[in-house]
Amino acid sequence: MNTSNVSSWSTQQLTEMLALVSYLPDEADVVQRALEHAVESLEGDVGAVVSGGAVSAVIGYAMGSAPEQDLVAAARGELTVLDVPGAGPCRVFVVDCQGLPDGRMLIGQRLPNEYDSQERNLFRSFARVLGLALQAHRALQHERQLRLLSEQDAERRKQLVEVLRERQALLERLAFIQRLISTRRPLREVLDAIVLGVSELIGVEVAALRIIDPNDPTGLVLVASTGLSPRAQEKMRRSSVDTGAIGAAVRDRRPVVMDGDADDQLSPVMRDNGVVSAMVAPALQGDQVVGTLAVGTRSPGRKFSDGDQEVLVAFAEHAALALHDAQTVAALKEAVSEATRRAHQDALTGLSNRVAFLENVNAALGEPGPMSLQFIDLDDFKIVNDTLGHPVGDELLRVVGERIVGSVRTGDAVARLGGDEFAVLLWSSSADQAEIAAERIREALGEPYHLQGHVVSIGASTGLVHRTTEGPHVAEELLRDADVAMYRAKALGKGRTVVFADSMRAELQARSKLERELRRAIDAHQLVLYYQPIIDIPMSRVVGSEALLRWEHPELGTLPPSDFIAVAEETALIQAIGRQVLLDACEQTARWNDARPEQPWTVSVNVSASQLVDGRVVEHVREALSSSGLAPHHLTLELTESVLVHDIESAAGILFDLKWLGVRLAIDDFGTRYSSLSYLARLPVDVLKVDRMFVEDAPTGTSHARLAASVVALARSLQLETVVEGVESSQQLGIMLRLGCRRFQGYRWSGPVPGAKFVETAASIERQLAVPWQRQAAFLRRTAHSGVTDG
């Protein structure tokens, strides 16, 4: 079983268990069911939960015959093999079970089988889910006790009803969050629900959820909050794990309350926000702290009860579970998309997919008689998707599929090839009939669509190809001819049908030649990485590089990505190329760093939109890091802004997954397209790259130059690092330094160089920087001075 299978399978098992045991009425049942689920999932032969030196639940032995002493000894680690009648000797694996006093859960499999590390981790997670379920259960039990009391004491009934109502609210809230986790809502949504839920239930104004920074485990990053001003959020973006109340909570793995006398532990940011009492609990995965959840109130005199602490701990535990789940979701997505590629049917429309359609066409080519093929592409579908959202876009595609099917004869094959591309195979149709049919379909598609309250109109461009005696006899080629004709229809202004002619094949051939060469280039290692140095001016050092792809074409010389990336994107070669770039860049940088452990270099790698949308990038990054041994924080992934604006929700999910691997994320070309502050604040970004456009114009004082100043100011306020691209002159450098930038890349020092020359290039740049630094500093002071007087 490969890694991704294990992780997707384990995510499923955890969510199943959560759904199964969350609301059982009896504690013994909760323990028994959780144990059963864990042991069944891992196909174990024996399992037990031991608490306080006694067996609470057991499975695998005949009733009444479980060897209590052996099980207790095994739970303590004193016995590693249990003899189970019917199964034989079983090797046991034991984990802590925090929901129970001195609790341990164990599982065994008949020898010689043993659990691997991933299965052991899953078993650990099962124990944690059991802990969560027990917490919810205790809340219920408390409720029952109160209910009994209320019957005896009419006076207190009113208060108790209130308490009961709160308990109910807690359970409902936790159930809601568990449901978000088990239905795999985006991590952001789950974390937001946690802070909102905890603040409402405890009745406080402020809640903040931080997670341990995967880059730097001594720091915490704020990932969700409520009741904090934007300013406070900025200040709390990063904090240390070892100071104040957070430090105590992390160190002692227990909640810390700051009210009354202990309020001197309150952080200044909290106090500035008017918070007078607060408490913080660690979010634990096993023994490991993965984050903290804090709440604070502005009401003077508010004391937090034990019940409040219990609520806080329950929510912190759910945060830990959500984070665990998020780590494995990327793998699940990968498994699903892999399976989708193999399937024959288009999931959205229920029509045949490309694979099945090509089989149909091949079958038709085997029969004599006339035959035509249409390639239909919707015009401006992307606008519908972007403006009305994916659900409406999907609905539109479904209806388009239905309309096409409704416009052809039974027996004609209709398929969705992908995206907004459809294809139709018309059997025994003459050329004239086929053209009439194509127009009929386009007319049907042109009728208005009523979709979820919107009225949408959309056109289509159609490429039509007739079978000829000398024409292609292979389905793929026939489809490509239709595709070429469709492109021609688009080029002629959309909303029309174009019949394929042989002359169009030349276009196709040029494109497919490039594709073939590109495929060969990958195998022949003609795609190589060049590295452009990134320089830290105050440190006078080269701190890393940006890896840039070049095609060393045997005939055309060295080609930049702009000459071939579009074809790579169209043909899905981009995935293979992207993966290779990550592997090579990490491998090269790790080798450099082996030789310079005291001053390691970072490397930046560009990630394209389609790589990010595909989602496999998470797996590729993980693979590149583990095969090269490069420290994750030495890898920066550069993403273009347009990727993020296009589908921010799914992009955010993948970015958090990437962030969780410990890599750094940079936004490339920031400010050149859709500048949006809102997404910048919501995404786990570390670096802003300032585009060359701003730098070129910097000395001119134009609007671009002013924009450059505000981009840099923005980065500083969000505590993001900046790297300025495209610096060519000293004047440009001076202006950007004055704005507060310290890291640069550009031809002023060096363009991209092959890996073999990078060490030499870096050394020469550092020599240059060391010598004229005094002079340069003086120059800068002068510039700064003149800036002031001019102003």
């Binding site: 005949a62 009648p85 498994a335």
Partner: protein, 371 residues
């Protein structure tokens, strides 16, 4: 009734040392008269049985028939019991019948033969209840009673009595080895789906869409299955769900469509949050599974020749094979039995469990070989 008596007489063949009668009979027959008649023809011999959706005998499969297997001779210890789901709950009923395993404890080889009402609720719970009592020590084997695919009421038989909504069991202790084989023979089709909402055996949504709609659309189901409950059930027989498991997929029979809520109802629980596939099979894959299950059961006898084979075969496999395929399948089972008697029936779910891994199966063949 006459058929039942005849079958019983043939099975017992005049021997006085019969230890257990196992009766599989169509409920097209008058089961209360039939079971009384069988019992009368061999009084004092414990008897269990159930209604079927087709019976399996050494010379072929039948409809509206009856098969009686008699276990006897020296070296057998037998105890029988029944429990009603209404009285004990699903899990409790499983536990209750499993207690009789203690009565055959002195035999070196043991098995608990369990026949249940598959329409009475989550069958995994019955299996868990029984497993909690016997542990890995006594394997569980058996199946869910049928009613010729009407899906309305099944019967369980014990000592001449007819019950419904019950679990009946026989603890079999033997001096000779007992072997169990399990195999399904389905394969995944299409892309996996996330079970985004379910409630016990009811699947509400797949990939956030109404489950019934997804199911019908993915399979390009015939028009009639979109509105006719019986037609849906017939269609769904050959298209079960497969749930993603550690080392395999667990098959779940899709039993019913709920046209009002656009959900589907399965024979066992389909947990929320899980990954599921739609599965399909053909003659070849189903027959391969037949061989594999029989091989495993006979091999577990350690070289001893089988005295008889019990087959618990899912009705859905019958749906895939058709009448001629069924004849071939039963021929194959008989060949593995090497001339020994074969008895079994077409079930609504199969039971085979001898480790903590799940023990309730759907659309599977379970074979018990007795030596």
């Amino acid at each position: 009734v006459l058929a039942g008596q005849e079958a019983c007489s043939a099975a017992v063949a005049g021997r006085a040392d019969a230890a257990l009668l196992v009766v599989f009979a169509s409920d097209a027959l008058d089961l209360s008269r039939l079971s009384k008649a069988v019992q009368d023809s061999a009084p004092d011999v414990p008897m269990i049985g159930c209604s079927t959706s087709g019976e399996i005998g050494a010379d072929g499969a039948t409809d509206s028939g009856v098969v009686v297997m008699a276990l006897g001779g020296p070296g057998f210890q037998i105890a029988t019991a029944s429990a009603s789901v209404e009285a004990f709950g699903l899990r409790g009923a499983g536990s209750e019948v499993a207690r009789i395993a203690a009565q055959v404890q002195s035999s070196p080889y043991r098995v608990l033969l369990v026949l249940t009402d598959g329409l009475a609720g989550d069958q995994e719970e019955i299996v868990r209840g029984a497993y909690a009592v016997v542990g890995a020590e006594v394997p569980l084997v058996g199946g869910c009673a049928g009613d010729d695919l009407r899906m309305s009421r099944t019967s369980q038989l014990l000592d001449g009595r007819v019950m419904t909504g019950s679990v009946v069991a026989a603890a079999i202790g033997s001096d000779g080895p007992l072997g169990i084989g399990v195999k399904h023979g389905w394969r995944r089709i299409g892309e996996p789906m996330v079970v985004t909402d379910s409630d016990g055996v009811r699947v509400l949504t797949l990939d956030n869409e109404p489950a019934l709609d997804v199911y019908l659309r993915r399979l390009d189901a015939p028009e009639i299955a979109y509105h006719d409950a019986a037609a849906f059930t017939r269609f769904a027989l050959t298209h079960p769900f497969g749930l993603h498991r550690r080392s395999t997929e667990e098959v779940r029979m899709v039993a019913e469509a709920d046209f009002a809520t656009r959900s589907v109802v399965c024979i066992a629980r389909v947990p929320r949050g899980g990954l599921a596939w739609i599965m399909e099979g053909d003659d070849a894959s189903v027959l391969e599974a037949t061989d594999a299950a029989c091989d495993a059961a006979v091999e577990a006898l350690g070289g001893a020749p089988p005295l008889g084979l019990f087959a618990f075969d899912c009705i859905a496999r019958r749906g895939v094979l058709g009448d001629t395929g069924i004849a071939r399948e039963v021929d194959r089972i008989a060949a593995h039995a090497g001339g020994a008697p074969v008895g079994g029936f077409y079930t609504y779910g199969e039971i085979a469990k001898n480790s903590a891994a799940g023990g309730f199966h759907n659309q599977t063949l379970v074979v018990l070989a007795v030596a």
